[in-house]
């Protein structure tokens, strides 16, 4: 991609991350990183625990010294700046829950304007319109005067995203922003971040453990593995090349390239034929594999399950006997007893 086509917001030049140690050699987690994020791009940093995601995030944000190399935001090196200047280049959203209650949503978002206000912290008209805009973007303007402790966890995280927006930085970094949220809120936050990246032309970098959400929302995935390497690509490319499978390989589950899901490895019992192949068939198959049966479409001779879709019933055909079940729970019980 040429420069005229894509403008970089974040660049790292030969970045090496890790920890300086006093007595022994430096502990280097990753080296020679030349990473870039463009305008309007949502990048998800994925990797198992202990692969160095947080270290990379902290190093990029200038909170930790790199072992080598440097980070540039809009061409300006981060490490050579003080906190006030960094705060105009990148804003952060953290996993940690706020420890304070008696603060209004508006006040918290207004803290995002700190890098721009005088020592008195007085808000100008521009500051106030930025705060309003930020709260509208996350859909919380009507909550502006509520106290933060009256909000749900999902809303709180959206308040912190509004704070980052109010900070008006080209780069927003989020450290596991969905960590303690329920599924609807996780999806909502990812959707929000993606649309923010597209609409505001900011670069957004977030670390996460939500593989399936990241695969759906990210423009680019940075995949860290435990053996000190970082793979970069569109989510689909990483799936096709098997990188995701390799990174998250484990004895007890597999990554299924076809569905983009993790499949747990259960002890295999007998093979069962399932006849019928739509939504009902998919979930029946899931239930059966959880119980350890191997599912196939071909006739096996020992057992078959026929789906009666219009009646939403299941028929177990075994040794010439037919048992009818009203739901999957009954079906599983029926299989065990027959």
């Amino acid at each position: 991609m040429g420069d005229n086509y894509c403008k970089d917001i974040l660049e790292t030049e030969g970045l090496a991350i890790g920890y300086k140690q006093k007595r022994s050699e430096d502990l280097c987690l990753l080296s020679d990183l030349n990473l870039t994020i463009c305008r309007g791009e949502l990048v998800c940093l994925l990797g198992p625990n202990g692969s160095g995601k947080s270290t990379l995030m902290r190093t990029i944000a200038g909170l930790q010294a790199p072992l080598k190399g440097k980070t540039l935001v809009e061409g300006k090196p981060i490490r050579e700046r003080n906190f006030g200047e960094i705060a105009r280049l990148l804003s952060i959203v953290l996993t940690e829950r706020l420890q304070v209650g008696n603060l209004s949503v508006y006040h918290i978002v207004s803290l995002g304007r700190h890098p721009y206000t005088s020592w008195m912290g007085r808000l100008s008209e521009k500051d106030e319109s930025m705060i309003k805009w930020a709260l509208e973007q996350v859909g919380l303007w009507q909550y502006a005067n509520k106290f933060i402790n009256q909000l749900s966890d999902g809303e709180r995280q959206r308040v912190m995203i509004a704070k980052a927006l109010a900070q008006d930085t080209p780069l927003i970094m989020l450290d596991e922003p969905t960590a303690h949220l329920d599924l609807p809120n996780r999806v909502e936050i990812m959707r929000l971040l993606r649309s923010l990246a597209k609409e505001t032309d900011k670069a957004i970098l977030l670390s996460t453990h939500e593989l399936d959400l990241a695969l759906q929302a990210a423009d680019l995935i940075w995949l860290m593995s435990k053996n000190q390497d970082l793979r970069i690509g569109a989510p689909e490319d990483l799936v096709l090349s098997g990188s995701i499978e390799d990174t998250f390989k484990n004895k007890s589950f597999n990554f299924d390239r076809k569905s983009g899901n993790f499949i747990m490895n259960y002890q295999k019992k007998e093979t069962i034929q399932v006849v019928g192949n739509d939504v009902m068939g998919f979930w029946t198959q899931r239930a059966l594999s959880r119980e350890g049966y191997q599912v196939t479409c071909e006739a096996t001779g020992n057992c078959a399950i026929h789906l009666i879709e219009d009646k939403r019933e299941w028929e177990i055909h075994r040794n010439g006997k037919i048992t009818t079940c009203k739901n999957i729970q009954e079906l599983l019980l029926g299989l065990k007893s027959s």
Binding site: L63, I92, L94, L98, G101, N102, L103, G112
Partner: protein
Amino acid sequence: MQNKTKILLFVSLFVLIAVFLIADLILGSVKIPSDKILAILMGEDVKASWNYIILNFRLPKAFTAILVGAGLSVSGLMMQTLFRNPLAGPYVLGISSGASLGVALMVMASVLLPGVFGVVYSFLGSWALVVAAIVGASIIFVIIGMASIRISDSVSLLIIGIMFGSITGAVVNILQYFSDPEQLQSFIVWTFGSLSGVAWTEMQLMAPVVVIGLLMSFVLIKPLDALLLGENYARGVGISVNRTRTWVIISTALVAGTLTAFTGPIAFIGVAVPHMARAIFGTASHKVLLPAVVLIGAALMLVCDILSQVPGNQTTLPINSVTAIFGGPVVIWVIVRSRSVKASFS
């Protein structure tokens, strides 16, 4: 809470302070009619002894009460925010322990080293205890200050402060163990706290230092607000946490150290008033809380001073006991009613 309500609360606090100030001047062991007090304050010569009592005793005492109330409350508020701990107060870093050690050495070690301390005593005269307290507090402050530069997390610093408090406390205990009953008593009287030890000459030093410390804390409003989000978020919005911490410690040491030197360690106020302010104003924003604790602290201290002069009696109760006995229930009531402390430190 609406801005109007807040302004109303501030105005009523000002009125309260004025009322308490007048009451503090009127009440005392010697009965002086209130119209005469006004005349004396206007500069009239009413009666030599009355003039002396009002101008050189009650007035500086009332001012001291205001300074102590405002100063210790602000220090307490900043320490609670810095350490994110509702139990923190102006003395949490061991500043009062340092002052106590200085005073204990001055009062009691004169037995152990009569020569040296005798000379010091005769040289300093009435300032001896003040100087001893300032030296003691400063030494602890320098140690904590150096520690705060090297140690980047606040919790470790808090623990170090508490450890220093324990160590100096232990040394004071040893000194007490070896000292005469007479000296022991004068040390213990110092620990009771007293607002009446500050005459105009002492006020000339105490007031400016405390006012400078308070002004410093008003400059810190913005970083203190950011610290409410936690240290990481504060750094994220461009606050240098280490520099803020250093300034908070300097300001607290100046205010709390100086006040302790002149009045003895006055406990309770510094921990309690910030909680009262949070409960009354229902916010954690320092833009509101800082002026609020100044006013509430001043008002509360004036009330305590009024109560410490048992009406119709010559006795004065030690101010340290009065603040706790009368202030404690008030604070408990406020906290039980509003639950805002939990909201502020959840």
